[in-house]
Symmetry: C2
Subunit: 436 residues, 2 copies
């Protein structure tokens, strides 16, 4: 989620919490509502720059600023008890030592509720905030991400889970035989270690990824435990699901060690007509000048010159994020949209959306879950707090009645919520008895 | 403070909270106790590596690991209401964009209670966690720190305080004329900006520094608002105080825009004899092998070969932290200590210490405050929770009786606690009426 909503028209919606970007009380209320709804995790989208759109469009967007995710989630860890806390961190503009440490710290602070959304950051404006003129080329970003993941998880295994003996009699605080220096030397990183933080309660915080390109899928199949994916249709979702499961089978990874969660904007109404009216109202609140700028970003080209009433012209390859461009091109073709129609959809929210009653939305979710479309969903709300409350108060009970969603948390860690195994240390055994 | 104490024998002290490094409940209790004692701020010391001492000594130390400071302070922001929250971040191994963002975020999350302790990081093991074989030479570190500070504060001034208008009628979320891109290009950094986070409630989080070298003092006189300093005696403290005030006068900075706070380990007893016995007991709990290793770190040379029963031999210059070596050399000479005596003191805690009753400690503090030795103190506790409780329950009331310490917070931000002015934006005026 984003504080005001992922939908760019949401802040103008009647009753919306317009100041939520820096209204911590509102975010606490949202996280607590999600926890009441037994959600696995609270996930906040993130960027490392203003969105790269012209000021004339940007000035109409509530998505420009908010709290930094790791500090926000650390704060939320103290006002929630069970819900997982997933933050984005970039492998292109961070140091693996810092990232390993911060997520380990969040995992300790939250008693095992941390997850790391590993992103490679395609936004060129982000690169320019970190001394570079342009960002790394796509495949280089993923090569760096792979090594980054290796360093971070290696650092998390610095200490055996039982390394700290703290025996005042002998004066031994930790057992040096239960500590391992990393001494990593690779193409992108040289990191001595060890990490100076005890092993996280979950072993490793949960690894989340969202890359949909060839390199992104392969890295996810090898290393991810959750994938956020953005299919346009159930058929798309099924193709992606099959592809990931096949890659995992080739690697010998158990299928249930990775959960595939499509992002879906869920608009709940008392009737289907009311839900559609809410979505239409929201889209109508997106300015055209902001809509066309969003389309330009998604395509990686300047779309302002395109004829608004004709179909999209052919779009050249760029160094920008491939998955977002592909999604938009498919949407335009599938629904036969003009540039204007496409811009309004993309400017609001371009991705998968379930719009209907609690019944029809539960039907759609069930269809995905039962037909290898997904293992769950990365649910987004059209506006807040209303759209969130409607989902928790209406759709969650319907899913519970159907027996396809929990009625209460059975575990305490994010891994337990997701049905993922605790991560044993690769260098020290046995695991302590407290973490079987 | 450190979770278990700055004193390396503290974890073996009877009643000590030995697991405090990862016991958040203990740290919450400490922060709340400090808030009950009306302290300006909670400050957690930090490093970016295991301390660079041999494993044989390190294994006896509780100072090796704890939470990462920014995530910890974000968590503490939700269980405290008034106390300031100061974290260390290094200018040598961080990116200014991330640092500007995180401290701004902490300032928002805490409603204006954040402070940034700017350090240049002298530990060579830290460099080896970030791809370098050795750390930058001293003066280069300070040149980088100066530019880093310029970038971070520039990013904090990205937005006017009233930039976010959020007018649903016109569809204007922010006024683009109230946003300024940084476009910094310097020797060490190229950062486009703007920062994608609203201006911090304090304008800028409070800038704290601790460098005692020529370059460190000059940077502090120019940019710091708090200095943590480690004088061995009141005369040392007065010399430092005068030096900083003179530098500020030359720069035209008002003297009260920078608070000088010596670090002091305070050991409270019901009698002076009891206080001295507590300190002696603590020192006796430091292993000699850990003591001699600490001395080696402080001096930047291997001291294990030195004759333990003779005075310290001459020590060559190194690339390590100058201030800590200088402090130790002065201590050895001032008190005529042997290597063994020096190692035990340095291994426990080498710096300034007030050991006595609430009366005598208040006397010493008052002498510093009234004779231009300091503007306050960075108080450290010999062991926790007992040493902390004794200070808050006995010394704080004595200081209050004397009228030299507050009985309640009069403001809500760290700047207000410290008597520092709110920071106006250098590029946009007027400030909003809420922040005069």
């Amino acid at each position: 989620m984003r504080p005001v909503s992922i939908h760019t028209g949401a802040w103008r919606y009647p009753g919306a919490q317009r100041d939520a970007n820096f209204n911590l009380h509102a975010l606490i209320r949202y996280a607590q509502t999600l926890e009441r709804g037994c959600f696995d995790a609270f996930f906040m989208a993130d960027h490392l720059a203003l969105l790269n759109m012209p000021l004339e469009a940007l000035k109409r967007s509530h998505t420009v600023t908010s709290f930094e995710p790791l500090t926000l989630l650390a704060a939320l860890s103290q006002v929630t008890e069970r819900i997982g806390l997933v933050a984005t961190a970039s492998t292109s503009f961070e140091e693996p030592f810092h990232i390993a440490r911060r997520f380990a710290s969040l995992d300790h602070l939250s008693n095992g509720r941390a997850g790391w959304n590993v992103v490679t950051t395609a936004n060129p404006d982000a690169a320019r905030n970190f001394g570079l003129d342009d960002h790394l080329e796509h495949d280089r970003r993923y090569a760096r991400a792979r090594e980054f993941h290796e360093v971070v998880t290696g650092l998390w295994d610095s200490w055996a889970d039982d390394a700290f003996v703290r025996d005042p009699e002998s004066g031994l605080f930790f057992d040096p035989a239960r500590l391992r220096r990393l001494d990593h030397q690779g193409e992108f990183f040289k990191v001595q270690g060890p990490l100076h933080i005890a092993r996280p309660p979950q072993g490793w915080p949960v690894i989340v990824q969202a890359g949909a390109s060839e390199a992104g899928r392969q890295l996810a199949a090898e290393t991810a435990e959750v994938i956020f994916v953005a299919p346009g249709t159930l058929a798309d979702g099924q193709a992606f699901y099959r592809d990931i499961r096949q890659r995992m089978a080739l690697l010998g990874r158990p299928a249930d060690h990775l959960k595939i969660l499509p992002g879906v904007l869920v608009v709940v109404g008392d009737s289907e007509a009311e839900a559609k009216a809410i979505r239409a109202r929201l889209d109508s609140l997106v300015h055209y000048e902001s809509a066309i700028a969003s389309l330009s970003v998604a395509l990686g080209v300047d779309a302002k010159g395109f004829d608004p009433d004709r179909p999209l012209p052919p779009i050249p390859e760029t160094n920008d994020s491939r998955s977002s461009r592909q999604r938009v091109l498919e949407l335009a073709e599938r629904e036969g949209l003009t540039v204007r129609q496409l811009a309004q959809r993309v400017g609001g929210y371009a991705g998968l959306s379930f719009v209907g009653t609690a019944q029809t939305i539960a039907d759609e979710m069930q269809a995905w879950l039962e037909n290898e479309g997904s293992d769950g969903f990365n649910v987004m709300f059209p506006w807040l707090p209303g759209g969130l409350d409607a989902f928790v108060d209406q759709v969650v009970p319907e899913l519970q009645r159907r027996g396809i969603f929990r009625r209460a948390y059975s575990g305490t860690t994010l891994r337990e919520h997701l049905g993922l195994p605790w991560r044993p240390n690769r260098h020290f055994s046995p695991a302590p008895s407290a973490n079987p």
